[in-house]
């Protein structure tokens, strides 16, 4: 009798079991091949460059060691400069990045028993006491300190070595103020005036280093008893608080490469030179400027982490950080100013930015003791 087969749905078919395996297997294979490929600069560096004749016993000791430098996200150096150091000393340098300055210092404190590296670069003057309390560093007086002015040597015990300075200042949008009857504010107090309503962007001091620096600047100017009132007036005058520098500068600030609408932002003294982009058309001024009376000094330090097994090599690295080669390289890569008097600044820095001689600065001990409380008090003003 005629009978057509009833179609059973979901009939399992054996053959394709193999076919579908092909894609993931090939992929896994490709992964293995790729992963075994070139890893990164560190291997290349060790194979490049011929070792110089080592004349000092100390250099002989450290040849062949690898040190890890823990630093924040903004650290940068020209490859050839670092290569030269490695070739000269035979030390292999591995860079380890972990967030911003506050984060890496906290991580270092947390991992003190088993540190993540040998050298820590990027601790700033506001975080020193935390490092001291945790006995984070081994003292070392580098010979390079001879060329560094005393004002930067904040630690008499040399647990940390100053490497660079930068100032956190208010930046303003030139074109905004040029096209309106309002003047560029000259002092911090000016910011609370009605003509600057809703024009200022600051960063949250709890999450941002420049934000904290600006808060400290206001504390320096208005004192322990007056700064909260100042901030209340600022808040009443419509200040915008951003989470971090990127958002403040790029999303909210109107000057230069910013896409926002507010012409005043807390940024760095070194920001205006970067806004001059086209070398072909020389301009007199950068599209953005700095308000000198608002500048708060930031000094960055490096230190040898206690618990390191390569103390000698770490010392060589600190010397390198103070050397003229590195100090000359710093402004272009990290947008900070050198501490070594023999170093030279690039032209854009001298032309388009100001060097503030007498910036605002609180003593590290004061900051260390009160910082958390101040941040908490600030948060209460702005929290809901």
């Amino acid at each position: 009798m005629n009978a057509s087969p009833t179609t059973t749905p979901h009939r399992p078919s054996p053959r394709p079991v193999r076919r579908w395996c092909i894609v993931p297997l090939t992929f896994a294979l490709a992964l293995v091949v790729i992963a075994c490929g070139e890893p990164g600069r560190n291997d290349d560096a060790s194979s490049a460059g011929a070792p110089n004749e080592a004349t000092e016993v100390e250099q002989e000791d450290v040849r062949g060691t690898t040190i890890r430098v823990v630093t924040h996200d903004s650290f940068n150096v020209t490859e050839s400069v670092l290569d030269a150091f490695e070739a000269q000393t035979g030390i292999n340098v591995e860079l380890v990045k972990g967030g911003d300055a506050v984060q890496i210092v906290n991580q270092a404190v947390l991992t003190r028993e088993n540190p993540q590296g040998d050298v820590l670069f990027g601790i700033d003057n506001n975080l020193l006491t935390r490092a001291y309390d945790a006995n984070l560093f081994l003292p070392y007086e580098s010979s390079g300190l001879d060329r560094v002015p005393d004002e930067f040597e904040l630690d008499p015990d040399d647990r940390v070595t100053p490497i660079d300075r930068g100032d956190v200042c208010l930046n303003f949008d030139r074109s905004y103020f040029a096209t309106r009857p309002v003047e560029v504010p000259q002092t911090l107090d000016d910011l609370t005036k009605p003509e600057y309503e809703n024009l200022l962007v600051v960063e949250n001091p709890s999450t941002s280093t420049p934000g904290l620096a600006f808060l400290l600047a206001t504390i320096d100017v208005f004192g322990e008893s007056g700064w909260q009132d100042y901030w209340r007036r600022l808040e009443a005058n419509g200040v915008t608080v951003a989470e971090g520098w990127e958002q403040a500068y790029y999303d909210l600030f109107s000057g230069g490469s910013g896409e926002g609408e507010q012409p005043l932002v807390v940024s760095y003294a070194s920001s205006p030179p970067v806004e001059v982009t086209d070398p072909a058309t020389p301009v007199d001024e950068s599209p953005t400027g700095v308000i000198p009376s608002s500048c708060y000094r930031q000094i960055e330090f490096a230190g040898i982490l206690a618990g390191t097994e390569h103390e000698q090599a770490a010392r060589r690295f600190i010397d390198f950080l103070l050397s003229v080669e590195f100090q000359n390289d710093m402004p272009g890569n990290m947008f900070v100013y050198p501490v070594n008097q023999d170093a030279t600044l690039p032209e854009t820095f001298t032309k388009y930015s100001v060097v503030v001689d007498d910036p605002l600065l609180l003593a590290p001990e004061d900051v260390g003791m009160n910082r958390d409380t101040w941040i908490e008090q600030w948060t209460r003003i702005f929290g809901s």
Partner: protein, 540 residues
């Protein structure tokens, strides 16, 4: 059933080493030292009214975000499941893009629409609306892809039977489709809730200092203030809330595993019929354009143009800037991102697959399966800072010295990606008619073989959707790995952050260019993954 324990042992070990151990270490560090327990922080936290407000805000914004995302996501899931339209495949893959971009980039894009110079003219920065909008933007894909994949496999004959028996289209949905769809909806809702409950970057960037969630508070206490005791108490509080929610969810979701008929996805999609379906499709497409297309389009727009020409920023990416040591060539960043993401996805598939099998197992003891399910979801709801810092202090010696190893990164990503895999596989596995497996075994297939021949093709669509997610999550450097250092293997998000960390239109433009590359890469990769079918499961 011994086989079940064997299956579960691998995920359990994974979970113990990569989650339980680090988290208990960091929490222990906060609450316990050589001279015993320090529990004063508990009373400090409990008596602090500000922290109570924080906890309450965390809860209600998560509930509201979840509800909103479901509201807009479910109609879209229907469109993808039942309607055929041009560009469907690409759009399905593109939904995942917001996951992948660094939060700061997405927030920037959102502000481009609803911020100071925004397109819409409303200014929402610093309001809770900006937070909610961003939450919907991020989590839209979770709802649409999870529910949509499952819906596409539901047998449309059941709806037709209802319609023919007198139910209007709406009633057929309510009476027949919705009860069957509920497991997938609950799965999606649980993930969205976990994400928004532990939301961090979005709250900070778009809400500003006025808005604080538990996660932000934990971050502040841990990473900024190093108040580990308070942080530990808050982390435990967060953990308790998440556990509560997960238990309620699992109670309800595991109650009934009605075997369903699953149909081939391609079979059930048709061109929109009638005005109602057409307008629904148009409305959803318009919404997707507004929600995703406009902000992301702005990103792309910002990467083009500039003083050096139309493609200037892209070309700049290729040239080494003053030979900087930390210059990341885009090719290298792409390669690294892909390697990590692929590794993480594979690990998540293995761990998630084994776990799903153990959870969805047939037989009397469902209890063990429920606990495993809840356990593996917990990492999603745990503070990323806690986990990250836990890695730092726990995984630093001996055989577990993973702290500096690059292996930790894909493993950490897999921790977050595994729940997606489980959420996709378990409802599908449970829905398979056991008679199919029986048929296979009668035909001579061993249990493993029958699983591959029967179960895998049926779940592969939902699985592909989840795999796409897992891949995107890893591409976007999710969560805890932000705290891990990667000396030699910079990835795309890292490179983007580096550009954004410095001023200048060129830096900004290059950051946008890299973001655009990351977006394209994601769409292509997810498209490829979505196509992956087991067997001739194109008919499936």
């Amino acid at each position: 059933m011994p086989r079940r324990w064997l299956l579960a042992s691998v995920p359990v070990a994974f979970f113990a080493v990569l989650f339980v151990y680090p988290v208990t270490s960091i929490i222990g560090r906060g609450l316990y030292s050589d001279d015993g327990w320090h529990l004063e922080a508990v009373t400090d936290v409990a008596s602090n009214p500000a922290l109570r407000r924080v906890a309450w805000f965390t809860l209600w914004q998560a509930v509201l975000s979840t509800a909103l995302t479901l509201c807009v996501g479910l109609p879209a899931a229907y469109c993808f499941a039942r309607l055929a339209f041009r560009g469907k495949r690409v759009l399905w893959a593109a939904l995942v893009v917001p996951f992948v971009l660094p939060t700061v980039v997405v927030a920037s894009a959102v502000l481009g629409v609803v911020g100071p110079r925004g397109l819409l003219g409303v200014e929402l920065q610093g309001t809770v609306w900006a937070i909610l909008i961003a939450h919907v933007l991020f989590n839209y894909a979770v709802v649409v892809r999870t529910v949509g994949a499952f819906w596409a496999n539901l047998d449309p004959t059941l709806e037709e039977a209802a319609r023919v028996t007198g139910a209007s289209a709406w009633r057929a949905f309510v009476e027949v489709t919705w009860p069957l769809l509920r497991p997938a909806v609950l799965a999606a809702a649980s993930i969205v809730f976990l994400f928004t409950f532990t939301s961090f970057g979005v709250v900070l960037l778009l809400g500003g200092p006025g808005y604080n969630t538990l996660e932000v508070e934990i971050y502040t206490q841990t990473a900024r203030l190093l108040n580990l005791d308070v942080a530990a108490v808050l982390a435990l509080l967060q953990f308790a809330a998440v556990l509560c929610m997960l238990l309620i969810y699992s109670r309800y979701a595991h109650r009934r595993g009605t075997p369903l008929r699953l149909r081939a996805a391609d079979e059930s999609a048709h061109r929109p019929r009638g005005l109602a379906q057409r307008s629904l499709l148009v409305a959803n497409l318009a919404f997707m354009t507004l929600l995703l297309g406009v902000p992301l389009g702005m990103l792309v727009a910002r990467s083009l143009g500039g003083t050096g020409g139309f493609w200037a920023h892209y070309l700049d990416l290729g040239s080494s800037r003053r030979g900087s040591v930390l210059f990341v060539s885009p090719l290298e960043a792409v390669r690294n991102s892909l390697v990590f993401a692929s590794a993480a996805t594979l690990v998540a598939l293995v761990i998630g697959g084994l776990a799903s099998l153990a959870i969805a197992g047939t037989g009397a003891s469902r209890r063990g399966g429920r606990w495993l399910d809840v356990a593996l979801m917990v990492p999603l709801g745990t503070s990323a800072v806690t986990v990250g810092f836990g890695f730092l202090i726990a995984l630093d010696s001996g055989p577990l010295d993973l702290r500096d190893s690059i292996v930790l990164i894909p493993l950490a990503h897999a921790l977050v990606a595994t729940p997606f895999v489980i959420r996709a596989m378990v409802p599908a596995l449970r829905s398979i008619d056991p008679s199919l497996r029986e048929a296979a075994s009668v035909l001579g297939a061993s249990p493993g073989r029958s699983w591959m021949a029967v179960d895998l093709p049926i779940v592969s669509r939902g699985l592909a959707a989840a795999t796409g997610f897992a891949f995107a999550v890893s591409l976007g450097e999710f969560g805890a790995t932000v705290f891990l250092a990667r000396p030699d293997w910079p990835t795309l998000p890292i490179a983007i952050y580096r550009f954004l960390g410095q001023p200048g239109p060129s830096n900004f433009g290059q950051a946008m260019a890299l973001s655009t590359i990351l977006m394209m890469l994601t769409v292509v990769a997810v498209l490829a993954i979505d196509r992956w079918r087991v067997g001739s499961a194109g008919e499936f």
